[in-house]
């Protein structure tokens, strides 16, 4: 109980205080400088708007959240598989790694319309954009983890006539767990961005998701609603990132330190 309390004080209180300070300054700024509400609405207006459009925001939150989580899980699975393939030979790495970098460098806003043309405006297209954009951090981190194996341990497996498959499943993959978790944390935040960008392009037909809400609200100059939507998106990213971090830390602890 005391430990939980101390955790809250040391981990939750500082960012909360910072938040309060910023919100207060923001509020004062809008009052003192008399800024127009369509340029910068005050925090109270944004909060009011969040309540007014609560249902709409909540359903957008759920839609985008689901798309981002599915996109993230797909990139976790496929990214790890691709990294396993990369770990098997330097030739495979040299031949295919440039195309993995392509995932990182391609402007996602440029290929999202293509994806909509190819796969339609539904859920699957948004998931695909989220998947493409979050795949790279998993591939690079997992590949690094699979390759950074203690050379003595590799010798140990060689001396026991281990097969390639045994070395992969019993040595490389378990060794790579911490790196895969690092990659997953990065990918989880990016997956939300991917889902929102995907909705920019797919959402005008399906009329769903936070991305669509942003797209719809911005030209109407409902800046308070826009702010509320941006906050909802940030919250979603934070939530998924925290979830992945908590699960990741739990796995790491049970992985190395025993059940106790």
């Amino acid at each position: 109980m005391r430990a939980i309390f101390r955790w809250i004080v040391s981990n939750l209180l500082p960012p909360l205080m910072a938040f309060l300070v910023v919100v207060t300054l923001w509020h004062l700024a809008t009052v003192v400088f008399q800024i127009e509400r369509f340029v910068l609405p005050g925090p109270l207006l944004v909060a009011k708007s969040a309540i007014k459009y609560g249902d709409e925001l909540w359903s957008g939150f759920l839609t985008t959240g689901l798309e981002a989580i599915v996109g993230f899980l797909l990139s976790l699975a496929f990214g790890t598989l691709i990294a396993c393939l990369f770990s098997q030979s330097p030739l495979i790495r040299r031949s295919l790694f440039p195309y993995a970098i392509f995932l990182q460098t391609v402007p996602i806003v440029a290929i999202a319309p293509l994806i909509v043309i190819w796969f339609g405006t539904g859920f699957q297209s948004v998931v695909l954009v989220s998947f493409i954009i979050s795949l790279f951090p998993i591939i690079t981190n997992a590949t690094a983890g699979l390759l950074q194996v203690d050379p003595d341990l590799l010798d140990l497996f060689t001396l026991n006539n281990a097969t390639r498959w045994q070395t992969l499943t019993k040595l490389r993959l378990p060794s790579a767990v911490p790196s895969i978790i690092t990659g997953a944390r990065i990918a989880s935040g990016v997956a939300v961005i991917g889902a929102i960008v995907g909705e920019f392009f797919a959402g005008y037909v399906s009329r769903k998701g936070l991305g669509y809400l942003i797209l719809q609200t911005a030209p109407q100059l409902k800046t308070d609603k826009l702010f509320a939507t941006v906050f909802a998106s940030t919250l979603l990213g934070l939530l998924i990132f925290t979830l992945v971090s908590v699960v990741g830390n739990a796995i790491l602890r049970s992985w190395y330190e025993g059940e106790s």
């Binding site: 003595d152 140990l156 001396l159 045994q166 190395y256 025993g258």
Partner: protein
């Protein structure tokens, strides 16, 4: 070339090891080790003693001359069920596995059913002085000495014909090293595998072995072949005798000569 080494379990004939653009690691290494002998390879740091061990294990192939284990090349011998075990300088345990599961690894890699080896694993863990409670711990929960015991158990569990040990006790403090020296001798006296023990510690070499090969650096070669006449079982008392001190002096002088 005819092979006239019926009596030698390990036969090294003009063995050399060199890499492009590096000075020779080993050159003209010759020796015969009969089955069941306890041999120490003693030398200063960087004299090639670890490389020699790696050639014996088949992890590295000699670039000149001939190394034979039981009449076959080390790689061939290993793949055809010559039971050789390697103990590394670090315990090289898999950190996500318990001690029991680490010691079981050689059987797992040979696809043996658990029922066949679990009892033997348990006995071997006890043999090296670890308890049932230790068996369920992860390496991180153990002291350095206990980790090394677990590493020894993993090597011994296969009932090896040959134990190759690469300075296994070097990182341990002196008292612990002496205790483990006594225990490894107790097990060897019982099981009589052939032992090749690499060390830079004169006292350890004299205490353990029937024979000491002193190595000369750059390129690595055998400088002296010294017999150790003390009877087994050897106990801690041996270290306090005048004969022990005298032989240590002789061996130390040989070792000094290699670096001057």
């Amino acid at each position: 070339m005819t092979i006239t080494t019926d009596t030698a379990f390990i036969h090294a004939d003009q063995v050399g090891l060199s890499f492009p653009s590096v000075s020779d690691v080993l050159a003209n290494v010759n020796f015969d080790i009969p089955r069941g002998q306890f041999v120490s390879i003693l030398g200063a740091s960087g004299c090639g003693k670890s490389s020699l061990l790696r050639v014996m294990s088949g992890l590295q192939t000699a670039t000149a001359g001939l190394m034979l284990l039981d009449g076959r090349s080390p790689g061939n011998a290993r793949e055809n069920n010559l039971r050789s075990a390697f103990v590394f300088q670090d315990p090289t345990l898999l950190p996500w596995r318990t001690v029991r599961s680490n010691v079981s690894l050689p059987f797992e890699l040979r696809d043996r059913p658990e029922s066949e080896y679990l009892e033997h694993v348990k006995e071997t863990i006890n043999l090296v002085g670890l308890t049932e409670a230790d068996a369920d711990k992860r390496p991180r929960e153990l002291s350095g000495g206990m980790r090394m015991r677990a590493s020894l158990a993993r090597a011994l569990v296969t009932n090896p014909d040959l134990m190759l040990m690469d300075e296994p006790f070097a990182p341990l403090d002196d008292i612990l090293r002496q205790q483990l020296n006594e225990e490894i001798l107790r097990i060897w006296t019982d099981q009589k595998w052939t032992a090749v023990f690499v060390t830079h510690n004169v006292s350890e070499a004299v205490f353990l072995s029937q024979r000491i090969l002193v190595m000369h650096p750059r390129p690595g070669r055998i400088a002296a072949d010294i017999e150790v006449p003390f009877d087994y079982p050897r106990t801690a008392k041996l270290r306090a005798t005048a004969e022990f001190a005298e032989l240590m002096g002789t061996v130390s002088q040989e070792l000094r000569r290699t670096v001057e």
